[in-house]
Amino acid sequence: MSGNEENSMKEAGGCAAGFRGKFFNFNADAEARLADALMAVGKYVQGESGCLLGHIKAAVVNEKGEGITLNLIDMDNGVEHHGTLPRCDVVTFDFMCAVLDVDEHELTHKMLHAIDDSGIDYFIDKESLEHKHHHDHKECDDPDCDCHKHVQCDDPDCECHHHHHPDGECDDPDCDCHKHVHEDGKECDDPNCSCHHHHHSFADMIDENGHFSHDHHHHDHEHGECHCHDHDHEHEHEHHHEHGEECHCHDHEHHHDDECHGHDEEEKPKKKGLFGFLKKH
């Protein structure tokens, strides 16, 4: 074991994302919609890394502690359902994904959209999206821990290292990132910065109703270009077209091999199209 061995998550090229919250009026229909949300995330992962190595899971538990688990590990097999749950007014859910070779930030983004697009009546617990990996490094006694490389940083108030190492990001003290992350979760306004998309917090995009904010694709345009869009141009046509209209999925070659999920959804119309307005611009 070498002294500068990377942690195993990094070594595997893995990343994990997730959040928790509540669903209201949870029944068999909502369970099916949740399964579709897992599939939507699975399609994204498969598209990014070539195959789904890892898993996408959701646990739904009611007040009595009864619950179900949905598990997606293989796109061909689809989502496995374990356990049964009677209809419930309110349940808590945990939605998590641990996979290889995708960007954690974009994965979280896709997971949030998947829940928002599912048509399930949901409330996302904002706190569950905040970075909580700020353990007390005074207690860390792992000599292999990457955190310890940050002692070279000149700025005693610098909190950069908290934001970087769990994502498998840079641990270079000379990295430009270290110059501008001090706004705590807010992106920097340097339009040439390619790393800001790792830093804005999705927690800020959850409104008081626990909903993923509808206008997060626009806020960046006020300050210049959003770099998220650099690698996410397929975002809108993936799920922002309105059903009943022509499906835009077919306009893009990278979807030709996939089944257009728009067609599954046509049979099962959405309860609410929170993102419907986005395509109108």
Binding site: G13, T69, C147
Partner: protein, 195 residues
Amino acid sequence: MQVYILGGFLGSGKTSLLMKLATMFSERKAKVAILVNESGEIGVDGATLKAQGYDAMELPSGCICCSLSGTLQTALKNIKNDIDPDVIIIEPTGLALPHKVKELVRISMIEEDADVIIGICDIQRFRDLIKKKEEFFTRQMQGSEFILINKADVAQPGEIEDATAWLSERFPNKPIIPVSVKDGTNLEKVYELIK
């Protein structure tokens, strides 16, 4: 007190095996404590195990580089003092290296009689995993006492033989057992090995 560490990649069947082992130990009147730790801050395994009626303790995750060291040792000491079980089963995340977890168990001084790593791999994704992450996968299996090739129920003809050959070439001294945690195939052999 025996400590079992289930080592295997994401989705290989660790939680499923854990439930079977816990049931098996309970049927034999052994007191079992379960510890799970998932990648990332949100865990599903703990919720699943609890919903299925198992008494599981979740290790808070977060920073994977160090979350295990402090919390795992504290958790183990508490389990030893409060529950004093006959068996502790630990499921680290599918992105962890089980031999590192074993080192942490050793230095936590709970005076266990044995720490056994059970390696588990998924036949369905064996090729993909080897193709993409051969080195990581090899390191993950390295410290295990024996290796289970899981999901034999869905294996294609020849797949188990190929995987067995691949594994025995790298780990000539480890028993390699095809199992299906789902339908129970060969789990008796596993119980024999660990009891």
